[in-house]
């Protein structure tokens, strides 16, 4: 057992440790049970689900890039009812073992977010909180995601806030962070997840076509990490609500950078594909680092960057 207390309170969600999983990279949790005991994690965040199932985009949906990957899954999901039917029992059980289950909410419009969140609120008593994904780079209908302006993000939050008393988080697009973060805080967001994939483009220069079925996709992996750390730092300084850092976490040191920059929790994404058990390895490395820093509580290290 570690000598460091690793428990954190992230936006009203009690986590036994700061390690969370990034939506879309961890399925609904049970996919990983053959690789490690998922209940060791502080939280998991489930794939974004809408009120109705979505088919997602045509193939190819993924391509590798230097230092990461790019996807255009397009939020394929079974809908909230599908999630509950398929994975509800598992998630309820996971929650009972003390791992917070954060359900991500998907939509194309304010109305759709409201509809999905209402279903989640009703059907998922085991959910510790909800994360509004206003920033998926792969579903934006002919333009930017609705979370890419302060007004757009605030509108979604304003409509969703009354629906639940449980913690409501927002997954942020990697644009205009401090501004949008302040707008979301003002509308009652309990916490912010920073950042979603950065839109990118990879062209097959022989066929002259995108390597995905859409011109652009969302980037993940180590290539994002220094950008994401900077964005977490900017957001943590701009608002008083807590932040979950996401982007390119492959090691405990990567997670530690987020914590020092001001994150209360850290999500592991693409790393889950490289090594399905990496989230617990990262947790162990984070604990060892905290111990090496001579603290008794990980909370002492949140935002402890000296500058």
């Amino acid at each position: 057992m570690s000598k460091v207390s690793m428990a954190v309170d992230f936006a009203g969600i009690s986590m036994k440790n700061p390690i969370n999983t990034a939506s879309g990279t961890f399925g609904f949790g049970w996919q990983f049970e053959n690789f490690f005991d998922v209940s060791r994690l502080g939280a998991i965040t489930t794939k974004g689900c809408a009120s109705e199932p979505w088919p997602g985009n045509p193939k190819p949906r993924m391509t590798e890039v230097r230092g990461g990957m790019m996807n255009s899954v397009g939020l394929q999901n079974p809908g909230v009812r599908g999630l509950v039917a398929e994975s509800g029992d598992y998630l309820a059980d996971l929650a009972s073992k003390g791992t917070a289950v954060i359900c991500q909410v998907a939509g194309h419009s304010t109305e759709e977010y409201v509809a999905a969140l209402e279903l989640f609120e009703e059907l998922c008593p085991w959910a510790a909180g909800f994360e509004l994904n206003v920033s998926c780079p792969n579903i934006a209908a002919g333009g930017a995601a609705c979370g890419s302006t302060p007004e757009g993000a605030a509108e979604v939050m304003r409509a969703c806030r009354p629906i639940t008393k449980r913690p409501l988080l927002v997954k942020m697009a990697p644009v205009r962070l401090p501004e949008i973060a302040r707008a979301l805080e003002a509308e009652g967001a309990d916490g912010l997840t920073v950042i979603n994939s950065i839109p990118g483009m990879a062209i097959d220069v022989h066929t002259r076509r995108s390597k995905l079925s859409k011109p652009t996709g969302g980037l993940s992996g180590p290539l994002l990490h220094p950008i994401a750390v900077r964005m977490v730092w900017e957001v943590a300084r701009a608002v008083d609500i807590p932040v979950c850092g996401v982007g390119g976490v492959m090691t405990g040191e990567d997670a530690a950078e987020f914590i020092l920059a001001g994150a209360t929790a850290v999500s592991v994404g693409m790393s889950n594909f490289v090594d399905p058990a990496s989230s617990v390895r990262i947790l162990e490395e984070l604990e060892a680092w905290a111990e090496s820093q001579g603290v008794s509580d990980i909370n002492e290290l949140i935002g402890a960057l000296e500058c």
Partner: protein
């Protein structure tokens, strides 16, 4: 809880890794538990070392497994950086893989005679199936297609397994018939008598085989390829459009009922 992928993490050691045709390698790995667990049509997802900028695994079917020796044989074409690095792994080098993954072939009970149609590097999973058919005493014909003679693999293996016939087609006519292996396959299907068709290869080829099978009223299975990020149902990058909606190639496939696939 829904059933997770049967895949586990296995470390493996390379036993041999030889070029068996132009740009096509046969990799034999030692991974005893995997060798006992894997079933024809399933795949493994291999971590190939050597390029820190390239992080994802390489998904590959297998050609045969020897549970006694604890080895698994994989045939792969060098097409990009991952497979190029794989071709550089010498005997004795080690890494890890996730496997066995996915759903393999399901030969109908008492299917009588089977037709196997494989194009390019689609041969390994089909050869793996042929081995199972042979040991179950099910007769089978084989249609093989390749761009050119130098890239043709498996001919002798199918014969050795007792294939009733092996039709060979090459795009450039350098061996067998000049043309696509879907032609002899359609002819054979039209002659009748088949209870099962299995195919793996380029998607347009499989689509034709699926259509010909449907015309002949014979059940057909196809092994599909998709870009995979995880290989165990967690990412949805491997989706295949089916009549029943999007289905993950890594969990519901790679082998699909060809009738269900929206080609």
């Amino acid at each position: 809880m829904p059933t997770p992928s049967p895949a586990r993490k296995h470390t493996f050691t390379v036993v041999s890794n030889d070029e068996i045709a132009d740009g096509i390698f046969s990799l034999v790995i030692s991974a005893p538990e995997l060798a006992r667990a894997i079933k024809p049509g399933q795949f493994v997802n291999i971590a190939v070392p050597g390029n820190a900028m390239s992080l994802l695994r390489v998904p590959l079917s297998y050609e045969s497994a020897d549970p006694e020796a604890g080895t698994v044989t994989i045939w792969y074409a060098v097409v990009g950086d991952g497979t190029r690095r794989l071709s550089q792994m010498g005997a004795g080098s080690t890494s890890d893989l996730l496997g066995p993954g996915g759903r393999g072939w399901t030969v109908p009970e008492g299917c009588g005679r089977a037709l196997l149609v494989a194009g390019g590097i689609g041969v390994p999973p089909v050869l793996c199936l042929a081995r199972e058919l042979a040991s179950a005493g099910i007769a089978f014909d084989v249609c093989l297609g390749s761009a050119t003679a130098g890239k043709l693999v498996g001919v002798e293996d199918f014969k050795r397994l007792g294939a009733a016939s092996v039709s060979i087609c090459t795009d450039d006519g350098s061996e067998g018939h000049c043309g696509f292996c879907t032609d002899p396959a359609s002819e054979l299907l039209a002659q009748g008598g088949y209870g099962y068709v299995a195919t793996c290869g380029p998607e347009p080829m499989m689509a034709k085989v699926a259509a010909a099978s449907a015309d002949a009223g014979v059940p057909c299975e196809a092994s599909l390829e998709r870009m995979m990020s995880c290989g165990f149902g967690a990412c949805a990058t491997c989706a295949v459009e089916t009549t029943g909606g999007m289905k993950g190639a890594c969990m519901c496939g790679p082998v699909f009922d060809a009738k269900e696939v929206v080609w």
